[in-house]
Symmetry: C2
Subunit: 153 residues, 2 copies
């Protein structure tokens, strides 16, 4: 019973995962598959865009964040997935060669009304670069199994 | 000047893109890279989860939607990207072998206060399966170049 359960998430708790180096090659490969706009594919074309140079697709940032929280704690937890995403903000470009970290803050938690074996945890995730500039924020509620189903939280 | 510009998006306009067949192989490959939770990787493990069987990562759904709207109209437009996502809801699992379509609705539009060459268009996107069940909804505001910068809309 060493896995993280719903009971183990405390509002206000902060954790940081990473770093992970994001390469030009993976930025371009992701864009070619899922978001083939010039600013994510080609340095020269990107210079003429709002990004002012090559930057990762915002969806790539979301996917990298997902992988880093998966490795960080989700895969060691009783995760039951999530119903969606409350908000994503792409605040600054994710450039090739950046070493990103994810800062995770537990915002709130509540028991599920319909499923006594489940609880919800609301997170705010931030992707940071090496100088702590926030590149992306992502607010979402995740579902976790409870160690003591139906017990008063 | 045949590209779609901000002026060309009309609130209430609906379009449908696709279909695209989503294979088991791509669901598992995406999950292995970005969201390696059992319900996205392995049929037997997935049966014991809330998904009740193998289903794509919600992030995979977002990325497929992005690619389908890119091919559908973004790449033929004066797209300047987007500042984020207002809401994503994963309403029903995306199963292997599903032929998905994307329904796009223009919800609202406005000129940019700070950039006369740019305008914002708010979209509601829905991913549908073959029987028109809505699998995912995604609300987002995208930025487009204007054909007549600064003109009264």
């Amino acid at each position: 019973m060493s896995k993280l359960h719903w009971e183990d998430f405390q509002p206000g708790a902060v954790a940081v995962y990473g770093p992970r180096l994001v390469t030009r090659e993976e930025i371009v490969a992701f864009a070619a598959e899922f978001d083939p706009q010039p600013m994510h594919l080609d340095e020269a074309a990107a210079r003429a865009t709002l990004l002012g140079g090559l930057g990762a697709s915002g969806w790539h940032s979301c996917c990298l964040l997902m992988r880093m929280i998966a490795d960080g704690f989700i895969l060691e937890s009783s995760s039951m997935g999530g119903p969606g995403v409350e908000e994503v903000r792409w605040l600054a470009p994710l450039r090739p060669g950046t070493r990103i970290r994810i800062r995770s803050t537990v915002v709130d938690k509540r028991a599920s009304n319909s499923r006594p074996e489940m609880g919800m945890v609301k997170f705010q995730f931030e992707m940071l670069d090496e100088t702590d500039v926030i590149l992306t924020t992502l607010g979402t509620t995740l579902m976790f199994g409870r160690r003591e189903p139906g017990a008063r939280p």
